[in-house]
C-alpha cells in the first residue's frame, strides 16, 4: 500500500512538473544580425488560472551538464510581437521568445560575458510560478553566427529593386524617344528671375537649406546651383551663395567654379561668391536677412531642407521686392514658402529640378520612371485599402517596414 501511494505521488508530481515545465524549447542563432545573439523560443503554457503570472528566466552554460549561468532579458514576448522575424502565422500567438546576448560571469558575478560567435551554448528556460516553485526545461543548444542578409528587409530590397529597375529602364528608353514632362512653373521662371537680376544689375542670392552634404535634398540643391551658376555665368550676373555647412560650402565652391569654367567664363568666377555665413540656425538666418536688406538682391533662390528659418528668409526677401524661387522637401516649411515666394518647388519637384533644367534625355527619363513608380504606388494603395477593408492584410504586410 505504501509502495502504491509512493508511486501515485511520484506520478502526480511528474505530471505536475511536465505541466509547468516549458515545452517546445528551441534555441538558434538570432537571424538578421551581426552575431553574438541567440534566440530562444518555447510554447506559451496551456491556459489555466494564473498563467499570466509565470515568470521566465533563461540560463546559459558552456557544457550540456552545466554549470548554467543567469542571463539578462527584459521579458518573454509572444512571437507575434516581432512579425519581421517570425511572420504573421497563427502559431506566433502560441509561442514565446527571448534573446540572449550575454550571461553572468561565474568568477565575477556583476560582470557579464558576451555570447561568442561559432561557439556552442547550452540553454535552459526556467518557469517560475507565483508559488515560488521553479521548473527548468530540457536543455537545448545553439551557436551564434553573423548573417549576410537581413531577411526582415527583403520586402524593402525587392520593392526598392523594382522601382530602381523602372527608373533605369525609363532612362534607357528616354534615349530612344522624346518624353513629355509637365511644365514646372518655378523652373520655367528661373531664367526670367535671373534675367531680371541681370537687367537690374543686382546680385542673385542662393541659399542652401540647413542640412549637410549627406542629405539628398542638399545634393539636389547643389545640382540646381550648378544650373543656376551656368546661367549667371552666361548672363554675367553676380551670384552669391550663402552656406551654413563648411562641407556644403567647399562642394558649392567647386560646383560654381566648374560651372563658370564650362560656361566659358572662368574669369567671372570669384572665390568670394560662395562663402560661409554661420553654422547656427538663427545666426545664419540673421546674417542672410542682413545681406538681403543691405545688398537688395533681385532674385532669391532657396533650395534644400529648411527649418524654422524658412519664413524669416522668405518674408525678408518678399519685403525687399526680390523674385523668390524656393524648393524644399520639408513639408512643414512648404506653406511658408508658398505664402511668401513667387514660385515654390514642392517636394519631388526639387529633385526633378536639375533634370528639368538640363533637358538631357537620360535625366528626363528618370523623371518618367519616378512618375511610373508613383502610379504603381497609387494602384497598390487603392488595392491595399480595398483588401484591408475586406480583412485581407497580405498587401499591408508586404509594404510594412521592419
Amino acid at each position: 500500500m505504501r509502495y502504491f501511494l509512493c508511486c501515485i505521488t511520484l506520478v502526480l508530481y511528474t505530471a505536475q512538473v511536465h505541466a509547468q515545465q516549458p515545452t517546445g524549447v528551441k534555441a538558434e542563432d538570432t537571424p538578421n544580425d551581426s552575431g553574438g545573439n541567440i534566440t530562444v523560443t518555447w510554447d506559451y503554457p496551456k491556459p489555466y488560472e494564473g498563467v499570466e503570472q509565470i515568470k521566465y528566466t533563461i540560463v546559459v552554460g558552456e557544457s550540456e551538464n552545466g554549470p548554467f549561468h543567469g542571463t539578462k532579458f527584459s521579458a518573454a514576448n509572444l512571437q507575434s510581437s516581432d512579425p519581421g522575424t517570425f511572420g504573421y502565422g497563427e502559431e506566433t500567438f502560441q509561442k514565446l521568445f527571448a534573446r540572449v546576448d550575454e550571461y553572468t560571469d561565474p568568477t565575477d558575478p556583476p560582470k557579464r560575458i558576451a555570447i561568442e560567435n561559432g561557439k556552442t551554448y547550452y540553454v535552459q528556460v526556467i518557469a517560475h510560478l507565483p508559488s515560488g516553485e521553479s521548473f527548468p526545461s530540457a536543455t537545448v543548444s545553439a551557436e551564434a553566427y553573423e548573417n549576410f542578409f537581413n531577411r526582415t528587409k527583403t520586402n524593402n530590397f525587392v520593392i526598392g529593386t523594382i522601382f530602381s529597375l523602372i527608373i533605369l529602364i525609363s532612362i534607357f528608353l528616354a534615349q530612344k524617344r522624346e518624353l513629355f514632362i509637365r511644365r514646372i512653373a518655378g523652373l520655367e521662371a528661373l531664367d526670367e528671375a535671373l534675367g531680371r537680376a541681370t537687367e537690374m544689375g543686382k546680385p542673385v542670392l542662393f541659399a542652401h537649406g540647413l542640412t549637410s552634404m549627406g542629405t539628398v535634398s542638399t545634393i539636389a540643391a547643389v545640382n540646381v546651383l550648378s544650373r543656376v551658376a551656368n546661367r549667371t555665368a552666361e548672363f554675367n550676373t553676380e551670384l552669391r551663395v550663402a552656406n551654413n555647412d563648411p562641407v556644403v560650402m567647399a562642394v558649392s565652391q567647386e560646383v560654381v567654379k566648374e560651372s563658370y569654367l564650362n560656361a566659358g567664363r572662368p574669369d567671372a568666377y570669384s572665390e568670394d561668391s560662395v562663402f560661409m555665413v554661420a553654422t547656427e540656425q538663427f545666426s545664419y538666418a540673421a546674417a542672410l536677412d542682413g545681406m538681403m536688406v543691405r545688398d537688395r538682391p533681385a532674385t532669391n533662390i532657396m533650395m534644400g531642407y529648411f527649418f524654422a528659418e524658412s519664413l524669416l528668409l522668405a518674408e525678408t526677401g518678399a519685403s525687399i521686392g526680390a523674385i523668390q524661387i524656393a524648393g524644399t522637401d520639408s513639408y512643414t516649411q512648404l506653406p511658408f514658402f508658398i505664402t511668401t515666394c513667387d514660385y515654390t518647388l514642392m517636394g519631388e519637384e526639387l529633385y526633378a529640378a536639375s533634370a528639368y533644367l538640363s533637358r538631357e534625355p537620360k535625366l528626363l527619363g528618370s523623371l518618367k520612371g519616378q512618375d511610373i513608380g508613383k502610379a504603381a504606388l497609387l494602384i497598390v494603395m487603392i488595392l491595399g485599402t480595398l483588401l484591408a477593408t475586406l480583412g485581407i492584410q497580405t498587401l499591408t504586410h508586404i509594404f510594412t517596414a521592419y
Binding site: F163, I167, L168, G214, A250, L261, N262, A285, L311, T339
Partner: protein, 219 residues
C-alpha cells in the same frame, strides 16, 4: 586631368553609393564596420572643411571691413566675437586647451548662454510677427482656394485653443479631423513623391547620369 576631375569622382560616387545601399541590407560586422569607417572619414573631412569655413567667414568679413561697406561695423564685431570666444575656448575654464571642453561652467559657456542663446531666441521670436504678416497676405479670400484655406485655418486655430471648446465641442473635433485626414493625406502624398525623388536622384548619381554636382553637367 579629366580622369581626376570627372572619371575618378564618378567611380568613387558609384562605389560609395553602392556600399551605402548594400550595408543597409547586410548585418555582417564587416559591412557594419565598413559603414562606420566611412562615417568616420566623413567626420574627418568635415573637420578639415570647418577650417575652410572659418577662413571663408574671416575673408568675407575682412573684405567688408577693409572696403568699409555698408554695415562694416557688424563685420568687425565678427572678429571681436571670434577672438573672445577663441580665447575663452583655449582658456577652457582654467583647464587649458588640451583637456575636454568644460560644458557647464566658465566664460565660454557663460557667453554662449548669455549672448548666443538670447540672440537665437530673439530671432526665433521674430517669427511670430512674420507668421502674422504672411498669414494676412495668404488669408485674403480672393480666390476659392484662399477662401477654403482661410476657413480651414480659422477652424484649426480656434480648435486648438480653449475658447474653441467653449464655443462648441465640434470645433476641436473638426480641427482634429482637418489635421488628421486632409492634412495628413496631403503630407503623405508629398512624402511619397519625395521618397521616389530620393531614389531617382540617388540612382542618377550612383550611375553617373547626374553630374551637376561635379559642375557643368554632361561633357
Amino acid at each position: 586631368m579629366l580622369f581626376l576631375r570627372r572619371t575618378l569622382p564618378l567611380i568613387i560616387a558609384f562605389a560609395v553609393g553602392l556600399i551605402g545601399i548594400l550595408v543597409f541590407y547586410i548585418p555582417h560586422s564587416g559591412a557594419q564596420s565598413l559603414e562606420y569607417e566611412l562615417t568616420k572619414w566623413d567626420r574627418i573631412v568635415a573637420a578639415f572643411a570647418l577650417a575652410l569655413g572659418i577662413y571663408s567667414l574671416m575673408r568675407l568679413h575682412w573684405g567688408r571691413v577693409r572696403r568699409q561697406q555698408a554695415g562694416w561695423a557688424y563685420s568687425f564685431l565678427v572678429f571681436v566675437g571670434f577672438t573672445v570666444m577663441f580665447i575663452f575656448a583655449i582658456y577652457n575654464d582654467g583647464h587649458g586647451p588640451f583637456n575636454p571642453q568644460v560644458a557647464d561652467s566658465g566664460p565660454f559657456v557663460w557667453m554662449f548662454n548669455n549672448v548666443q542663446v538670447p540672440a537665437d531666441a530673439t530671432m526665433f521670436s521674430i517669427l511670430a510677427f512674420f507668421i502674422a504678416s504672411a498669414a494676412y497676405r495668404t488669408f485674403r479670400a480672393r480666390t476659392p482656394e484662399a477662401a477654403i484655406l482661410l476657413v480651414s485655418a480659422i477652424i484649426v486655430m480656434i480648435g486648438r485653443v480653449p475658447i474653441g471648446g467653449l464655443i462648441s465641442d465640434s470645433i476641436p473635433e473638426l480641427s482634429q479631423w482637418l489635421m488628421a485626414v486632409p492634412n495628413l493625406a496631403a503630407k503623405r502624398g508629398i512624402l511619397l513623391g519625395v521618397s521616389l525623388g530620393i531614389v531617382a536622384t540617388s540612382l542618377r548619381i550612383i550611375f553617373g547620369i547626374e553630374r551637376s554636382y561635379l559642375g557643368g553637367g554632361e561633357e
